[in-house]
Subunit: 301 residues, 2 copies
């Protein structure tokens, strides 16, 4: 339960109160933590005539709030890609949040989350909804995104129960060779070799993590973190490392590709269904605005 | 690749050779290791007009071998229950296994597994096929079965990607209380309180494990092992422990139920989709026949 909102600033002198959630004109900015099984979605972003996560979530919000609301997301995932830690924000009319008319003044994000969960289909959920400062921008205030790519190179590691979020590889993968190939890719580089280019957008990114983990059941997971990713970047990196892991290419090959700084036809993008967005990091509230300003300057809006 | 089979006994004096796989009349007994997503199956056992795992597997075997083959299974799972470690056996005509007509004498179980995997739908797979001694009986030679029951009592622990094999609980579960309640159930008892009775069948079983594990992601799993389970037993046990975990019943309650030795209407059977058969143990080859004899005597055929 949040304090009444009425378009003016809220006194947050009390340390127990959240920072003022007012955007303007009585709008309240909320953060939604989202999970989905991407199998039956044409990705995150709205597309005419397609079932997308954004369209399904915005439709549910419209049903609850009786008014159209637009979501801004941290990671615009492709068709078939999953999420356990997706984050979006929306500016909601505070009147629409007065879900308990009797009290007349309460803004109940827990109730909003509960109503959304009941409306949403089984392959998407909202883990939580909470009011955030107006400077919280799910896309531009993010410090880094974390992805996990699951691949089974042994029959027993995958199996029918994980077929939706685990790619299969028909040859054994050597995770030590893949770790060796991954090391020189870390840090700030132009990742154009691994990305599908977008007009006017930079492909310089800071790759902060690119580790392989072998689980007790034999399943392999690639843990990938960066400040942000350009289009197809995680799947391009994983595809290049798999070519090393199964012995087709030497460990030095991905670094050679990187140095060429242009899209290579030799990179086979790994299948979408192995990929899951597992988390997004944000700075503390007082640093949100500064972070968004820096990001916008670097990557453009 | 196995040695030629021709209806007579095979010399297994060489320690590298498998034990004689001949049942009789040229039949070869094979073991199949099986996994399935039970969501869209009406359980294991054949039922007229229903899609069951047995029916789908036997149809695939018939396609490959051009002859009907019956499977005997370790655990006849109910509708909606999954398996990562199911085991079945079948007696195959050795002629049907001559998958390489050119050689004329080879029995290739690896090739049989490969062909089955290509034929089977995505929600069931055969991890491996291998020839076993005639005394191997998937049902009666089994020493114990291992099940895992997954339940999410926090929104973030489940999510759309695991909705098929994880039950949700709307209240927090205290795994220490559940462990306390589980302890007196271990050992050999009449589990009639937790089972759906079958005419003429004993409900005495040896419960060897009933542990709860809390995973790093918050998910709870109940690990249950016994020599064998009667119908609904795992789900009845888990249902009773959940009633303790969420505070509805005291920790001593499940043991009180057990002592009553009759089906209790107070036991809420936990939902099928949280349950997975994860493994079956068998004795070494030389003890297979003795084990099957003991099991048949206790539980009837």
């Amino acid at each position: 339960m949040l304090e009444p909102v009425n378009g003016s600033s809220v006194d947050t002198g009390n340390a127990d109160e959240p920072a003022a959630p007012i955007v303007d004109g009585g709008l309240v900015r909320v953060r939604l933590d989202i999970g989905y099984d991407g199998t039956d979605f044409s990705g995150w972003a709205r597309q005419p005539g397609r079932r997308t996560v954004q369209q399904v979530l915005e439709a549910a919000l419209e049903t609850v709030l009786r008014q159209r609301v637009a979501l801004t997301v941290a990671g615009r995932t492709d068709a078939g890609v999953h999420a356990t830690g997706q984050v979006a924000h929306a500016d909601l009319p505070s009147t629409g949040l007065m879900l308990e008319p009797a009290s007349g003044s309460s803004v109940d994000t827990a109730e909003l989350g509960h109503r959304l969960r009941r409306l949403l289909p089984p392959d998407v959920t909202v883990y939580g909804v909470r009011a955030v400062p107006a400077a919280f921008d799910a896309r531009f205030a993010a410090l880094r995104r974390h992805y996990e790519y699951r691949v089974a190179d042994r029959p027993l590691a995958s199996g029918p129960l994980r077929r939706r979020d685990t790619a299969s590889w028909h040859r054994p993968l050597d995770e030590r060779l893949m770790a060796q190939a991954a090391a020189p890719l870390l840090g700030e580089h132009d990742f154009a070799a691994f990305c599908r280019r977008r007009q006017g957008a930079t492909t310089v990114r800071e790759l902060q993590r690119l580790d392989w983990r072998r689980d007790p059941d034999g399943m392999l997971a690639c843990l990938v973190s960066a400040d942000a990713f350009c289009h197809n970047m995680v799947r391009g990196l994983v595809g290049a490392l798999i070519a090393v892991g199964d012995g087709r290419c030497p460990p030095a090959w991905p670094a050679t590709l990187l140095a060429a700084r242009q899209r290579s036809s030799k990179v086979t993008v790994a299948p979408a269904h192995g990929l899951t967005l597992v988390g997004v990091d944000y700075p503390p509230d007082e640093e949100l605005a500064a972070r968004a300003t820096v990001t916008r300057a670097v990557r453009g809006s």
